[in-house]
Symmetry: C2
Subunit: 292 residues, 2 copies
């Protein structure tokens, strides 16, 4: 049980975390700060936070739990702002989708306070940003990846682990490097491909007419293309090297399909599809081993 | 109201059509045939069909409505088999995802009976094939595209139009050419891209581990990659020319994202994402104009 959550960033991810903590009875008070005063006021009105403060530092003061739920590019500056106000029992976490840059920024920003920080990536989200879409069940049953470094005290990692587990999540641990490599493949690349799909249609003279004909397959395939531009610009730039490698892998795969199509090689095309289809049919969300 | 539906192909699409017709009270008897005796027996057991027959011709005999719900590559042979058994009041439709090749095949197969045939593409589906996944509501509210040709009598088109409308669908009409071009962009290309995504991950040594980490974004993006290999081989090959053009458009869009990433041009990358994201956020399933 935490006395006070300092929520920095009152959006979908942060808001849902506060609601989940409240639902689980794991927090007494939530103090919120947002760069956008309108978001903070909305969070207050919706009961996501109990009190709004004007700075990140004020949100961290007196908090035994701090969630930095801001875009990855803003995490370092936020940690720098709150560092001096953390107390001996504070646990600080982020929810960023890339981890090497967050760890690097935390190292620079927190100095002696680095041990309070546990880098976290909850594998959850919606295409609609904003605290008005926050729900207590956003994290229910989802995977949460912790990427502690050699500088993270095991006690901090254990506290974070137990907390997300108490919220009903499957918790896994990996290095920031392994995290970024894996998520370039299974999250960042799919986002980029979905963005490119929308652009490819937009750029055609009949694109608008085409879009009126699209069905449920298109709806699901492009759902993540509605994601927030600044957040995803930061993620793609931050994980640039792994992204370029994954783009190479993807290009090779795409070329194989295109070559079979150009050659009208029906058996080769069927074989390519069958292999992809079997792998996808066998896949289940969140079937990975959790670290207990 | 139809006296007898001859259902040729007892899978997801055909089975759901039979169930929808029954639910709407629009058919007295459903006679089913499937190349796979097991599927036909399953359809009988599930109450999707009332009687099973051994050949497509028998299913068409005495039927005032025939649905050819087989993969596109098998439509021509099926039409050829049933042509001699069609009666003066028969309405024959398919549910194929490509239309130029179906129209061409129908022309060759049906001869003087061509006027009974209306080419249809219902924009509905699931990643799970098979009659066991058929439901009466699969077509509820979905778009259905009719692609009559100059050889299709208006009365046949009107009958098909009224029928799908009675099942709760939004019906549109377009030429087979326009259909194939549009669906290359909004359906066939997304399928190919999703197949390639699975292949790109499979081909990496750590692909299996990556997959255990994937979340709901990946789930939705790759849902269509689980589609049936033979069905999609046929669709891609049949719509090959339009597919190759759409692949070119896509490659250009992908190159734009990759160039911005290589150059670490954050403003350009944000602009590309913002434009894609806005278009996707504005899009709604089935918001196209229906042809009343």
């Amino acid at each position: 049980m935490f006395k006070q959550l300092g929520l920095i960033g009152c959006g979908l991810m942060g808001g849902s975390f506060a609601l989940a903590l409240k639902r689980a009875g794991l927090v007494q008070t939530v103090v919120g700060h947002s760069q956008s005063p309108a978001s903070a006021q909305k969070a207050l009105k919706l009961g996501v936070v109990d009190r709004v403060v004007g700075t990140a530092a004020e949100a961290a003061q007196g908090a035994d739990l701090v969630l930095v739920a801001v875009p990855v590019a803003a995490i370092e500056a936020t940690l720098q702002a709150i560092g001096p106000y953390l107390s001996a029992d504070s646990l600080v976490m982020d929810v960023g989708s890339t981890k090497q840059d967050v760890v690097l920024g935390a190292r620079r920003a927190l100095g002696a306070q680095l041990g309070r920080f546990v880098p976290v990536h909850p594998i959850a989200g919606k295409e609609h940003a904003g605290v008005e879409h926050a729900t207590a069940d956003l994290y229910d049953g989802c995977q949460v990846v912790l990427t502690p470094t050699e500088d993270t005290p095991p006690t901090s990692t254990e506290r974070a682990h137990a907390l997300w587990q108490a919220l009903g999540c499957r918790v896994r641990r990996m290095t920031p490097e392994a995290h970024d490599e894996a998520y370039a493949a299974v999250s960042h690349l799919p986002h980029l491909l979905a963005f490119a799909m929308m652009k490819a249609i937009q750029d055609q003279s009949r694109g608008e007419a085409f879009l009126t004909l699209a069905g449920p397959g298109f709806r699901d395939f492009t759902r993540i293309a509605a994601s927030e531009p600044s957040v995803w610009r930061d993620i793609l730039i931050s994980n640039r090297q792994a992204m370029l490698e994954q783009l190479d892998h993807y290009q090779q795969a795409l070329n194989a399909f295109e070559a079979a199509l150009i050659a009208e090689d029906a058996p080769a095309l069927r074989e390519l599809i069958a292999s992809a289809s079997a792998t996808r049919a066998d896949w289940r969300l969140g079937q990975g081993p959790s670290t207990d």
